[in-house]
């Protein structure tokens, strides 16, 4: 499976979540907070805290720990509050 991470096409395996792939690639943060612009990544790992948000295929506020990757997905960092593109 090929997916795009912040502009770079990388290999992913079926069953991998967005957070699983990002952590496996050594990333610890991939979004900034709305007010403070502070970096965040996974915190709860089970969909409860909403810290791990990413933009998937132009749709923001997707929880990276819950979202399974699909072939061709385009994933990028989320900067504060974003509107769908």
């Amino acid at each position: 499976m090929r997916v795009e991470l912040d502009g770079e096409w990388v290999t992913a395996v079926p069953g991998q979540t967005v957070a699983g792939l990002l952590l496996a690639r050594g990333r610890v943060s991939w979004r900034t907070t709305r007010a403070g612009g502070a970096p965040r990544g996974v915190f709860c790992g089970i969909g409860v805290c909403h810290d791990c948000l990413v933009v998937v295929n132009g749709v923001p506020d997707v929880r990276a720990c819950q979202r399974l990757l699909a072939d061709g997905d385009r994933v990028r960092c989320q900067d504060g509050a974003e509107l769908p593109s």
Binding site: V13, P14, G15, Q16, T17, A19, G20, L23, A24, V28, S29, T33, A35, G36, A38, P39, R40, G41, V42, F43, C44, G45, I46, G47, V48, C49, H50, D51, L53, V56, V59, D61, V62, R63, C65, Q66, R67, L68, A70
Partner: protein, 425 residues
Amino acid sequence: MSSVVVVGAGPAGLAAAAAAARAGRDVLLIDAESRRGGQYHRQDLLDTTERFPLPPGVEHLAETVVWAVEPGRRLHLLTGPADGPGRRRRTVDAAALVIAPGAHDRVLPFPGWTLPGVYTAGAAQAMAKGQRVAVGRRVLVAGTGPFLLPVARAVLGAGAEVAAVLEANRPRWHTEPRGLAAGLAKAPELLGYLRTLAKHRVPYRTRTAVIAAHGADRLESVTTARLDERWRVRPGTERELEVDALCVGHGFTPRLELAVAAGCALSGGFVSVDPAQRTSVPGVYAAGEVTGIGGADLAAAEGAVAGLAAAGAPVPPRLLRRVRSLRRFAAALDRVHPVGDGWREWLTDDTLICRCEEVPYRALRAAAPGARALRLTSRAGLGLCQGRTCGAAVADLCGLPGDAFARRPIAAPVRLGELIDEENE
């Protein structure tokens, strides 16, 4: 009208579904995750071998979130990849409903806890079990409760080094002979964890905690300290430790919103149930960690009771005795791992209490009293997680009941487009 609907495919929900199906009822089993198992039995998503085959008579809706419950046992579902868009919408009316959504980690706030690299204990566990990744290279596990041990083992299993396991209490088991006896069956599992720690030379320290995390834009080090019985820092015992990941857990918080929306009464911060796992609402049952934190065995036993009761089948006394005995053990575990109130002294004015809205301790103290007023003036608990993460701590700091933040009519994030699109129905 569906026969028995079970929400949550963890130990409790799986047992409930199997029991109701065996009693001859059609069962619909719903879970937000893509695979069955819940937290304790979380499956490795990279391996397609199914560990929990469906019993006959059970239909499983995977990747399906229950985002609202109406009184009268009507459930609103969305099925599809997490957080959409374009998930399939569906409404289900349950003849009998078993609510088994489990719990999530409780983490007390401390300076630096919002840095990337600080995880809940459960997150480290979930990433290791479900995704085969370690949350760091050199990992510290801290907090309180027996759950820290399987977390340390899972992190080791994923290939990381565990710098230490820090338990804030010194569990006084000699004060709990009856509870201990009820939990004897768990001894081999516990010994297994301790053996793994010993083999990897992982130090296990009691009355010790992480009181601050440091780093520029990710975790680089932590301050640990020895604690007294109430979790106040023993002056002069502070030490710096370099780690790239910290996993913290101070017990669990039940996921109450579905039960609250269904109208179920709570007691002591959990869904209140009778011996047949009936809630205060006719036809609605609850099982597993929403009714009390007690581990996977108790969740499964309660689930089996709830499944039989929801199917209108008799519940064997043997099963009821098993639930009672496991509850005794759980209560004892809880008593030997209390949360000391000294953690408040770890906070500084700038420590963020609400992670979503970035509300510092200072703002919380200045805010108006009362749950509603407090939220509106400080914004604590008003962010995307709806107070799930900070609710227990905010309640504690402001003298509110522990379930002050449990009312969430929308139980899971829904995109407006998913509600408007009529063709979806």
